[in-house]
Structures are given as C-alpha cells and as structure tokens.
C-alpha cells in the first residue's frame, strides 16, 4: 500500500507565512490605493445620504444628521420614480435587442470561413467610439427632425418626418437605437467567442445520431454558450441601468422627463445642483437595486445551469 509523504505542518506553516509576507508587502500599495479610491467614496456617500449636506447653500448652516429623511423623500418623489421607470424601459428595450442581434450575427460569423477576422474587427469598431461621439454623430445628426438624413429619406419616400427628439415615445426609441447600434457589437464578440468554444465533434456526433440543425442548436450550442451569454447579459443590464452619456447629448432627459435616467437625475441633483445628500440617497438606492438584482441573477442562472 502506498503511503502519502509525511508533511511537517509546523515547518510548512512557517514557510507559508514567510512566503506570503512578501506577497502581502508587494500587494499592499495596490490594495491600499484601491481601498482608498473605492471605500472612501462609498462610505462618504453613505454618510452624506443621512445628512442635509448641500454644496451651494449660502449662509451659516451646519450639516445635520437627518436620519432616513432623504430616503423617505425619495420614496415619495414622483420625479425620481419617473426616471426609474424610464431606466427600466430603456433596459428592457435595448438588452433583448442586443442579445438577438448579437446571437444572430455571431452565428452567421461562426459559420463563415473567409473574412471572419475582418468582420470581427469591423464589429469591434462601434465599441471603440465614445458614447458621446456616437450620440452626437449617430444621434443628433441622423435623428435631427428638420434636416436630418433619416427624416429626409422618409419625406422623399412620401412619409411624414418622425418627431425623433420631440415626442416622448420616439425620443426613447432614438436613444435605444443608438445604444443598440453601439453595444450589439459587444454581444456579437462575446457570443462569437462562446460559439467558437463549442467543440465541433459534438455537432458531428449529434448529426450521426440523427439530430437536425435546430435540435443541435438547442440541445448542444445553447447550453454550452449559456455561461458566457448570461455573463454578457448581466454586464449589459448593469450598463443599461447606468446609462447617462447618450441621454445627456441627445435629449438632455427630455422632452419633458421622458428620457431622463436615474443616473442622469443623480448627476443633476448631486453634482450640478449641489444637493449631495439627496443625490447620495438616489445613488445608494440605485446601488442597492443593482446589488439585489445582480445577486438574484447570479443565483438563478447558476441554478438554471445546474451548478448548485
């Protein structure tokens, strides 16, 4: 019977401490910087959310602890809930569209044998452009109602011009179109990578066993690309919840409040308006919602994929 080599715990333990000490010394600056940059703002924002801190209040005012007053105000603030609704509508509009476009194009790319690298680079390009630039070029110029090319084409075809930026509904559609244009590429690249990780012999074996292409797709491809798909979806959902740049450039949150997102509202309240207390409570609300959503999403997807 083979015997396992004997380990002397005390010697190994000493060795590990000495070994890890150096690792910790080298890691310490990075850890400290991250802690300072991350923890300080997070803790400070939490503190601000429980005060009446205001940057631009003139006169002899002391910042006071107000308990949950800012959160109570948040709950009854119609304007904030409108921005929350807008954000959810935006997310529900863009993420499924990006998934469908991403999957369709990735499947097509995965099946072509020539020019795949060219297309992959091509589809990477929208991701390299700043959202501000995209909003200005794709948004403000293409969707300009008066002399923009889209309405011009529509009018030349005999249709009425679309009030892209002055109708609450169409303004949201325009924003979604821009986001879908820019971020479908992300989905394409992620899903293409996932598809290329599927071993081709599984499909061959299925074909030998009599499975058709649809069955092969649903039973082999989909389960195997599911982990990456779910990760990509989570990233896009969180990004969609935090959307701000394209809205600022294209609609400024308008018409009315039809396209104002939660993040834009936080920026306006806290940064521009100087109401750091209420802005912080809004920011924490968004953070908590995203943490709960992200946690639930991860648990449910792991369960669905049978990992728990």
């Amino acid at each position: 019977m083979a015997t396992e080599p004997r380990i002397y715990p005390s010697k190994r333990f000493r060795f590990e401490i000495k070994d890890n000490l150096w690792k910790w010394i080298f890691l310490l600056p990075a850890v400290a910087i991250i802690l300072i940059l991350l923890a300080v703002p997070v803790v400070w924002t939490l503190y601000a959310a429980f005060t009446d801190l205001h940057l631009y209040r003139i006169g002899d005012f002391e910042t006071e602890f107000v308990g949950l007053a800012n959160f109570q105000k948040l709950m009854s603030n119609r304007s904030f809930w409108r921005t929350a609704r807008n954000t959810v509508v935006f997310m529900l509009g863009v993420v499924p569209a990006q998934l469908i476009i991403g999957l369709t194009v990735a499947l097509a790319l995965n099946n072509i044998t020539r020019g795949q690298k060219l297309f992959r680079t091509w589809f990477l390009m929208p991701l390299m452009v700043s959202p501000v630039v995209v909003s200005f070029i794709v948004g403000r110029m293409l969707f300009q109602e008066d002399i923009g090319p889209i309405n011009d084409i529509l009018r030349n075809l005999g249709f009425e011009g679309v009030p892209w930026l002055t109708s609450p509904t169409w303004a949201m559609v325009a924003l979604m179109a821009i986001d879908v244009w820019q971020w479908s590429s992300f989905m394409i690249l992620m899903l293409l990578a996932a598809l290329q990780g599927v071993p081709p012999d599984l499909h061959e074996a299925a074909r030998v066993d009599g499975a058709n292409q649809l069955q092969s797709f649903w039973r082999i491809t989909v389960p195997l690309i599911m982990p990456i798909t779910m990760t990509a979806l989570l990233i896009r959902i969180i990004d969609a919840f935090k959307v701000v740049e394209i809205i600022m450039v294209l609609t400024g949150g308008g018409p009315g409040q039809a396209t104002e997102s939660v993040t834009l509202a936080i920026y306006r309240t806290g940064v521009k308006g100087g109401d750091l207390a209420f802005g912080s409570s809004q920011a924490y609300f968004l953070l908590i919602v995203l943490m709960i959503f992200g946690g639930a999403y991860l648990v449910l997807t792991r369960r669905a994929m049978g990992k728990d």
């Binding site: 631009y56 400024g252 308006g273």
Partner: protein
C-alpha cells in the same frame, strides 16, 4: 559559478530599490548647480487663468504680448461652458484652488462671491479701467452688497432679431396687412408679443426664402432642457410677468414664494408652446441655442431672440442673411400681470421688460492668489478689462457683447471693424444693447444661491409643457412647488428672498 537571481530574489531587490528611490524622492532637493542669477531667471511668475475654451483662447492671444513683455508666464485652463461653471462652483464650495483668475457666469455671483472666493477689486484697478464707463445693468452683475468683486468682460443679453429685408418688402407687407390689419415695421420688428405671434403665423408654410420648398417658418427659439431653455422661456415671459411697479420677478421679495405659476407666466408658456409647436421648424420644441441660431442664419425663420444673433450672422460661413437682420429689445406687452394685486394691468404704450439673460461672463481674481503673483494678476486683469481692450473684444468675433457707455457710441468700430456689421446694423445693434442694459424695467437674471437647481426645475416643467406631457398651468404649478422646495433646502423662503433682494442691489 554564475550568479543567478531567482524571480523571488529579483522582486525583493526591485522592491528594495523602489523603496530607496521613493525615500530619496522625499528627501530635500539638492542645491541647484547653476548660478543664482540663472535660478532666478527660471522662477518666472506664472499667472493661471481658467475660462471657456474659445473665449479663453482669444484672451490668451490678446494678453500674450503683455505677459511676455512683463516677463510672466501664462497657464490657461480651458473648459466647456457647463464644465467651467461646475468646476468653479465645486472649487468654491470645497474651498480649493482653481486658478488665479477665472471667468465665471455672473448669475453664479451669490454662490461665488458670498462664499468669500474672490478678492474685492481694488480702487486703483477700478480707476485704471474707467469703471464709471460701465453700464449700471452690468455693474450690478459685478457687485455684492455694494462692493465690486468682478470685472466686466461681456454684456450678455437677449436681443430680438428679425428679417429687416422681408419686413421692408412691399408685396410681403401688403399680404401681411391684409391678414392682420397693420404694417410690418422694418425699423422695429415686433413691438409686442402679439405682433411676434402674428409674424410667426404669417411666415409659416410658404416659400418666402425662395428656395423652392415650403419649409419656411415664423420663429425658432432655444427650447431644449439642459441647454438654454431657462433663458429662452424667461425672455418670452418677462413682458407679461414683470410689472414696472414691482422689482421682483422670480420670487416674491416679501414672502419668498415662487411666482412661476402666476397668470403672467402661464400665458407666456401657453403662447410659447403654441408658437413652437406650430410655427417653428420641425423639432422646434427641442432646439438648442445653436439650432435656433442656425435656423435664423440659414434663412429658415423670420425672427428669433438670442445672444449671438449679431456676431454669428456676420460670417459667410455660418449665415446666408448677412446685413439683412434688424435688432431691437425684446417685444413688450400691453397687458402685464400684477402679482401684488392679482390682476392684469393695461398699458397704452407696451410695457417692455428686457431680460438680462445670463448677464454675461465676468472676470474675477481668486482669494487664493499667491502673494508672489499678486501684482502680476492684478496687472493682467487691468490690462484685459480696460476700455481699449474691452472694445477690441466686443468688436471682434469673440461672442462678447458691449457693456460700456463708450462702446455704445463706437458705431464706426462695429460697422467697419472685424465684425463688418455696416452702419445701419451696427446702429440697430447698439441701440438695442443700450436700451436693454439701461432699461428701468429690465429683469436681472436669477442670481441668488442655488440657481442651477432652480434652473433645472423650471426647465423640467416647461419642457413637459412643450412635449404636451402637462398643460402649461399644471407644469408651472410643479415648477412653483419645486422652487419653494429648493428655497427651503437652501435656507428657507425668507432667506432666499433676502438673497434675491441683494442680487437686485436692494
């Protein structure tokens, strides 16, 4: 035997070396190798200026000869409009250094000056720049509680501008008279907002610019939330809501209660929504300030009101209407709402209440200027704002507007200088500027603390009405509630009323 160094040893050595270097860096600097004179010559006084990118570049170009002549150095921070205001407000609120000299919007004066962020302008500087020559309407934007804390750079106000050539056209005028019973005036344009509305309606939907398409409209205004909607709406509302017998406009000076939902404001918004939805180019309810200028300068609309209507119309690259525009103060009204009595008062001669929209960019010296740079900084701002320099700026394509009595008389410089306005346009422009800045019923822009929040609240409500999300009365009711809430957060209604009185020079 070769000396081999393991990866772990290398990391240890590298870490030790980095630590030694860091310690060395923290130690006192070594004595300069060069002679004392050379060291002195290297220690030039640096003047740090923060301002708008475009305007700042012109300031830099203008001031560089003076800076070099005096042996100084200039470091210029360039920002976008919103970014600059945010930077200044944040630096003031957190008491951190931004620059020695900065350009800031005069309607942030309560926030900036009251926080002790600026130095009072010394008497000798005021004398050197002939401060008595500055129009009283502008002096107010530089002052706080009777003391001067900033220097003038730009007399930003809204001008009414109209197509003088169209209004002088006999055929067009006769058709207009058939419809509305009076003549178009090429000298004054619309004198009342009722006339403005008639002109809007008349010039919409037919090919008066003769480009072969019926894509011509009555007016274009700045209507986009987050852009310049605040000024677009207030310029439209002042004639109805600012009574000549009452100094206040935004909030009541006695109670601090918002006035934004009174019948004067509601009438203005109701009419404005109709105008922008029916008589402005497509998208007119969401136009930026640039969009409205482009519509005017592109020959698509017959009238507008704006800041840069004059200078932008002079460039052949951006305008097809050079020399065709007339200028006047903003239209007035025969009926004005009296907030004190709660009634509309009738005036035989239209009551005007021109809006000092934005009030202009001003130049100020930070309270945190280093002692070494003190003389250089004051020399810089004196040279920048003295009468000759001011005239050079306002008669060039800088976007700066006139603000001195002497500039109002400089017709020749405006007519034949870089702007090339021509004598007739120059006269119109300067008359409109003087009348607006000197008007007894002019409305000073909101400048009491928290103006950014008030602005956002108004823009949100007006934008909802423009988008038909709410009727004008409901939208402005929301604005009034928001105004009062902001006032409460900023220290109370009474506190804000007192600050408002101070911004009005009371």
């Amino acid at each position: 035997m070769a000396n081999k160094v393991s990866r772990r040893q290398f990391l240890r050595l590298a870490g030790g070396a980095a630590g030694a270097m860091a310690l060395a860096a923290c130690a006192a600097p070594a004595a300069p190798a060069s002679s004392g004179d050379e060291a002195m010559s290297q220690e030039k006084i640096v003047i740090r200026y923060a301002g708008l990118d475009g305007m700042g570049a012109r300031v830099e170009a203008f001031m560089l000869p003076w800076v070099e002549e005096n042996g100084y150095e200039l470091e210029r921070g360039a920002f976008g409009q919103q970014e600059l205001t945010d930077k200044i407000m944040q630096s003031v609120a957190t008491d951190t250094y931004l620059a020695d000299i900065f350009q800031f919007p005069s309607n942030a004066r309560a926030d900036v000056i009251n926080a002790g962020a600026l130095q009072e302008i010394p008497t000798e500087v005021l004398e050197a720049i002939d401060f008595d020559d500055v129009l009283p309407g502008i002096v107010n934007t530089l002052s706080w509680e009777g003391k001067i804390y900033a220097l003038p750079y730009d007399g930003d106000i809204h001008y009414y501008s109209f197509r003088k050539d169209l209004f002088a056209n006999e055929d067009i005028n006769s058709r207009f008279k058939d419809s509305f019973g009076y003549d178009l005036s090429p000298d004054t344009g619309a004198v009342t907002w009722d006339q403005w509305r008639n002109i809007c309606e008349f010039f919409t939907g037919w090919d008066w610019n003769e480009n072969g398409e019926e894509d011509d409209f009555g007016a274009a205004c700045m209507t986009k939330r987050g852009d310049t909607l605040w000024w677009g709406f207030n310029s439209r509302a002042t004639a109805y809501a600012k009574h000549p017998d009452d100094d206040a406009y935004f909030i009541d000076l006695d109670t601090g209660e918002a006035r934004l939902n009174n019948p004067g404001f509601v009438r203005a918004l109701t009419e404005w929504v109709e105008e922008m939805q029916n008589w402005a180019p497509p998208g007119g309810t969401n136009f930026t300030y640039g969009d409205s200028l482009n519509a005017m300068n592109g020959g698509r609309v017959a009238q507008t009101y704006n800041w840069d209507a004059v200078t932008s119309a002079t460039s052949p690259e951006t305008s097809v209407i050079q020399g065709l525009q007339g200028y006047n103060i903003l239209p007035g009204s025969h009926e004005v709402f009296n907030s004190k009595s709660g009634e509309w008062d009738y005036f035989d001669i239209p009551s005007h209440a021109p809006f000092h929209a934005f009030g202009g960019w001003v130049i100020a010296v930070s309270a945190q200027v280093d002692d070494l740079a003190y003389d250089a900084v004051w020399g810089f701002v004196t040279h920048l704002t003295k009468p000759e320099s001011g005239l050079a700026f306002v008669t060039d394509l800088t976007g700066a507007s006139p603000y001195r009595f002497s500039q109002m008389d400089a017709v020749e410089e405006f007519a034949t200088g870089p702007l090339q306005l021509g004598e007739e346009v120059a006269m119109d422009y300067l008359n409109a500027a003087r009348e607006t800045l000197d008007h007894p019923n002019a409305v000073t822009d909101q400048a009491f603390g928290g103006w950014v929040q008030y602005r956002d609240a108004l823009e949100l409500g007006v934008s909802k009405a423009l988008a038909n999300e709410l009727p004008p009365q409901d939208a402005l009711d929301e604005v009034a509630v928001a105004f009062n809430e902001i006032s409460e957060r900023m220290g109370g209604l009474q506190h804000q009323a007192e600050l408002y009185a101070r911004t009005l020079g009371k």
